[in-house]
């Protein structure tokens, strides 16, 4: 397979050949990687003999996966996305003097889906490699699960990053010491509290596995404490009962710092994965070019007057809203 847009030339043996009696359908099977078999299917006009060349009506290409490991899916989803972004490519079977010039039409949202799965699968490969876990990819990954994969990937790969914090509940015993701590909290010039939580050990469930990410500290620069007067009254009771202190960052974000998260080994990936990772820049360029061209086509060849009208915003008259201020 020759994919000029990506500078890819892949060669592999035809491991299996299947066909119907009248050659309406001919399927070539070829291993592109351990666990990933490409199936090239030719849909032909019926043929009755060896002397008659195949009259190909249609060609399809798909991958059959031997397992559901993150690595296997990463390779498969990368290949599907590449075929969607590649434009013209060639698949040749020299022994049969067969050379097919193809251009696969895959809808943009489908290509995006393959690429977003590739991101998640790479995240799982990083987490798996750092934590010594081999993840199986389920048929569906929920939004929460995707969020956990992304969070753990950031903890391992970035160590320090901004992430969503909607609310933190700090169970606090009503003691003199805690009352003193509470009274000493200062409101910063920006009108909020600056608070730190942790370090504390963090374990995230990911695809049915408990993944330990080490010690996490969260820094919040714009904290709002709910009902501070009521909390102070409760803490002042000094009877040891637990007072839940609810803290919300105004921005709904906090800086997460991981000092001892699991680490990737020095050279985590073998050659094939390195080659697939290295496609990232070309993938990004081809994907962006595709959308940039589509956006530009929405104003192609218009006159200045048409451009003026096409880009104008709907306007209301001055007295459109009669509600008084």
């Amino acid at each position: 397979m020759d994919v000029p847009a990506f500078g890819i030339k892949m060669t592999s043996e035809v491991a299996n050949l299947r066909f119907t009696g009248d050659y309406r359908e001919v399927v070539f099977e070829s291993a592109v990687d351990a666990g990933v078999v490409a199936l090239l299917t030719l849909h032909n006009l019926p043929s009755n003999g060896d002397a008659e060349p195949l009259q190909i009506k249609d060609v399809s290409w798909r991958l059959r996966l031997a397992d559901h490991k993150a690595r296997t899916h990463f390779i498969a989803d990368t290949l599907y996305a590449i075929l969607g972004l590649a434009g013209p490519l060639t698949i040749a079977i020299p022994n049969l003097s067969l050379e097919l010039r193809l251009n696969f039409k895959i809808r943009g949202p489908e290509i995006n889906k393959f690429l977003q799965l590739r991101q998640a699968e790479f995240g799982l490969m990083v987490i798996g490699k750092a934590c010594g876990v081999d993840f199986d990819i389920p048929s569906y990954i929920s939004g929460d699960e995707m969020n956990s994969i992304s969070f753990a990937y950031h903890a391992i790969f970035m160590r320090q990053f901004e992430w969503r914090v909607n609310e933190i509940t700090q169970p606090t015993p009503a003691t003199e010491e805690m009352l003193d701590w509470f009274d000493k909290l200062k409101i910063e010039p920006n009108g909020f509290y600056r608070l730190m939580f942790g370090p504390s050990p963090i374990v995230r469930p990911i695809l049915g596995r408990e993944i330990s990410l080490g010690q996490q500290t969260i820094y919040i620069d714009d904290a709002v404490i709910e009902n501070p007067e009521g909390l102070r009254r409760e803490l002042a009771q000094n009877d040891g009962h637990i007072v839940p202190i609810i803290i919300r960052p105004r921005s709904r974000r906090g800086r997460h710092v991981f000092t001892d998260a699991p680490q990737l080994p020095e050279a985590p990936w073998e050659e094939t994965i390195r080659a697939f990772v290295a496609l990232e820049d070309t993938i990004n360029t081809r994907l962006a070019d595709r959308y940039n061209e589509l956006a530009a086509n929405t104003v192609g060849d218009l006159t200045p007057e048409e451009i003026q009208a096409v880009t104008s915003r709907p306007e209301l008259e001055e007295d459109a809203h009669l509600v008084r201020d």
Binding site: R118, Q119, N292, A296, V299, D301, E306, A320, H321
Partner: protein, 159 residues
């Protein structure tokens, strides 16, 4: 090279001005959108109000030209393809409630000028997206009035 999953808090929708800059290939906007696509692996989202504005532009042009000529019709088809390819954030009940909270807190002049932006801002907040805009000031004005139990409007200036 960071090719793994992104943070959920980086997704953004385009306001009308940035969408137009994108359509006219303004270099700074192309750079911002290319960076976004590299991270998210999809184009920025559009709100239903932004789609209303885009389609309104074509229909207005057609009326002024005495009918939908071939060029306008072709570009409108491309616009519909773009709409199909982008994530669409609908103006749903939550967005409507947010807009309903913001709208009466603006002056009449602001309402007349910013009504579409109020709908856009309310939509992105309802869907937990940010807004990519050229007009930080307009969206900051709206952001001041977002109901306090929602996350603040995340404003990204792409120009």
């Amino acid at each position: 090279m960071a090719i793994g999953p992104h943070s959920p808090d980086v997704v953004a929708a385009l306001d009308n001005d940035v969408l137009n800059d994108w359509r006219f290939r303004r270099p700074a906007t192309i750079t911002a959108i290319t960076n976004y696509i590299s991270l998210i692996k999809a184009p920025p989202a559009l709100t239903s109000t932004t789609i209303f504005e885009m389609v309104h532009g074509f229909e207005k042009a057609a009326i002024l030209a005495g009918g939908m000529n071939e060029r306008l019709a072709r570009d409108l088809r491309y616009a519909h393809t773009l709409i199909e390819e982008c994530a669409i954030l609908p103006f749903n009940a939550e967005a409507a409630a947010i807009a309903g909270y913001v709208f009466p807190r603006l002056t009449q002049k602001e309402r007349n000028r910013l009504w579409a932006d109020v709908f856009i801002a309310a939509t992105v907040v309802a869907h937990e997206y940010g807004i990519a805009t050229r007009n930080r000031g307009d969206f900051e004005l709206i952001a001041k009035h977002i109901p306090p139990d929602y996350q603040p409007l995340r404003i990204e200036v792409w120009k």
